[in-house]
C-alpha cells in the first residue's frame, strides 16, 4: 500500500437525471437487494496492495498499466455474465443506451457508484465517464515519479505515468466485448494525478459480428 491515509470523503454525489430514471431505479434495486457487499476499506486496501506489488514487480508504470488492463479484461469477460444474470436486461438499442446502463447499473452494481456520462462525440461513438468518487483510490496518494511523464517524452503523455485505476478500463473493455461491442477504453485524467476529475474515455471501435458455427466441410 502506498501513500498515506487521507480523511474519508463522506459526501455522496447525487446525480438524478429524470430521463433515465428507470435504469437508475434498476441499478439501485440490484445494489440494495442482490449484491454481496464487502467492506469498502478492505476492497480499497486490497486493490492498493495489488497495484503496489505490480509496481514492485515490473518497475515500469507503463507495464503496470498494461497488466492492470489485462487483469481487468479477464475480470470483465466473466463479470458481464453476472451483470446480465442479475439485471436480466435486454440488448441495448444504441450506444447511448449502453453508456447509460454502464453508469447507472454496471458501476452501481459492482462499485456502488453512479459516474456521470458526458462529453459525447458528435457521432455518439465516444463518451467520457466521470467518476466523482472512486472507491479504488480511497486512501491513495501517488509518489511523484508516478505522476509525471518521464522527461524524455514530450506530448502524448497519456500513456505514461501510473494510471492507478486502470483495471477499470480492462473490465469495461472485456465486458463490452462479450456483448459484441469492441471498444477502446483509457484514462484521460485522474484526481490522483492532481487533475480536476477522474475521467475514463470510451470509444466504440466497431460492433462485432456474432460468431457463426464452423462449417462441416
Amino acid at each position: 500500500m502506498q501513500g498515506t491515509p487521507i480523511t474519508t470523503k463522506a459526501s455522496f454525489p447525487t446525480t438524478s437525471t429524470a430521463a433515465a430514471a428507470r435504469a437508475k431505479q434498476t441499478g439501485d434495486d440490484i445494489w440494495r437487494n442482490r449484491t454481496d457487499k464487502i467492506n469498502a476499506e478492505l476492497f480499497a486496501l486490497t486493490y492498493g496492495s495489488l497495484v503496489a506489488t505490480l509496481v514492485k514487480d515490473y518497475e515500469d508504470y507503463a507495464e503496470v498499466n498494461t497488466q492492470l488492463d489485462k487483469m481487468g479484461y479477464n475480470i470483465g469477460v466473466r463479470l458481464i455474465e453476472e451483470f446480465l444474470a442479475k439485471s436480466s436486461l435486454p440488448k441495448c438499442g444504441t450506444f447511448v443506451e449502453t453508456a447509460d446502463v454502464i453508469s447507472k447499473i454496471g458501476f452501481k452494481m459492482f462499485l456502488g457508484i453512479t459516474p456521470t456520462i458526458t462529453n459525447w462525440s458528435a457521432d455518439t461513438k465516444e463518451f467520457s465517464i466521470i467518476i466523482d468518487e472512486n472507491p479504488l483510490s480511497e486512501f491513495v496518494e501517488l509518489p511523484d515519479d508516478a505522476l509525471l511523464p518521464p522527461p524524455a517524452s514530450t506530448g502524448g503523455s497519456a500513456a505514461t505515468g501510473l494510471w492507478y485505476s486502470n483495471i477499470l478500463c480492462g473490465v469495461l473493455r472485456g465486458a463490452l466485448e462479450m456483448v459484441l461491442l469492441q471498444v477502446d477504453v483509457f484514462f484521460v485524467s485522474d484526481v490522483l494525478r492532481h487533475d480536476d476529475a477522474t475521467e475514463i474515455r470510451v470509444r466504440l471501435v466497431r460492433i462485432l459480428d456474432e460468431d457463426v458455427p464452423a462449417s462441416d466441410e
Binding site: 469477460v77 466473466r78 458481464i80 455474465e81 453476472e82 446480465l84 444474470a85 442479475k86 436480466s88 436486461l89 435486454p90 440488448k91 462479450m178 456483448v179 459484441l180 456474432e210 460468431d211 457463426v212 458455427p213 464452423a214 462441416d216
Partner: protein
C-alpha cells in the same frame, strides 16, 4: 410433462455441456431417436445398457451439432421475419408432435437449449434460472473453470441435475 435433455453452447458455437434425462430415445421423442442414429454405435449401445437411463456426456457429438444448426437457423429466420419489430425476445421455442424445444440466449452469447415433451408450458423462467443461478454461480464465478471450455464442474452438474429433477414437470 417430461424433461428430455439439455444442451449448452458457448459464444463460439461450441457445445460445452449436454445431459439427457428420462431416456429420451425410448420415451417417445422421435426426433432424438432419429438423431441418435447419427451417433457412434458405441455410444448408442452404452446408452441402451445404461440401467439408470442417465447418460451424461460432454458435447461435441453429432447431435449437438445438429441441434445447434437447427437453433441457429431458426433464430436467424425469426429475426429476419420480425426485422424492425420488437425483436428482443426473438426465437423462444418450437414444438412438434413429439417434443418441444426451448431456447434461451444471454446477450453475452451463451445459449441454452432444453428439450421437453410437447405439452410442456413455457420454460423461459426455468432457463433464465439455470443461467443466472446455476451457470453464472458455478461456472462463471469459478476461477478454475476456463471460459469457453466444456463444463466438467461437478458442482454445476450436481446443481443442474438437482434443479431439473426438482421441477414439478420433470417426469
Amino acid at each position: 410433462m417430461t424433461v428430455y435433455s439439455i444442451h449448452i453452447f458457448n459464444k463460439k458455437c461450441e457445445a460445452i455441456y449436454f445431459k439427457q434425462w428420462n431416456n429420451a430415445a425410448t420415451a417417445g421423442s422421435n426426433k432424438t431417436a432419429a438423431i441418435a442414429t447419427n451417433e457412434p454405435a458405441s455410444k448408442q449401445s452404452e446408452s441402451a445398457s445404461d440401467a439408470t437411463n442417465n447418460i451424461d456426456v460432454d458435447g461435441d457429438s453429432e447431435t449437438a451439432k445438429l441441434v445447434y444448426g437447427v437453433v441457429f437457423s431458426l433464430k436467424n429466420m425469426v429475426n429476419k421475419l420480425s426485422a424492425g419489430k420488437n425483436s428482443t425476445d426473438g426465437f423462444l421455442s418450437y414444438k412438434t408432435n413429439a417434443y418441444k424445444l426451448h431456447y434461451f440466449e444471454s446477450p453475452a452469447g451463451l445459449k441454452i437449449v432444453l428439450i421437453t415433451d410437447a405439452a410442456s408450458a413455457s420454460m423461459l423462467s426455468v432457463l433464465r434460472q439455470i443461467y443466472s443461478s446455476i451457470y453464472v454461480e458455478n461456472v462463471v464465478k469459478n476461477p478454475l473453470a476456463k471460459p469457453n471450455t466444456p463444463i466438467k464442474n461437478e458442482l454445476f452438474r450436481g446443481s443442474l441435475d438437482k434443479y431439473i429433477r426438482g421441477l414439478q414437470n420433470f417426469e
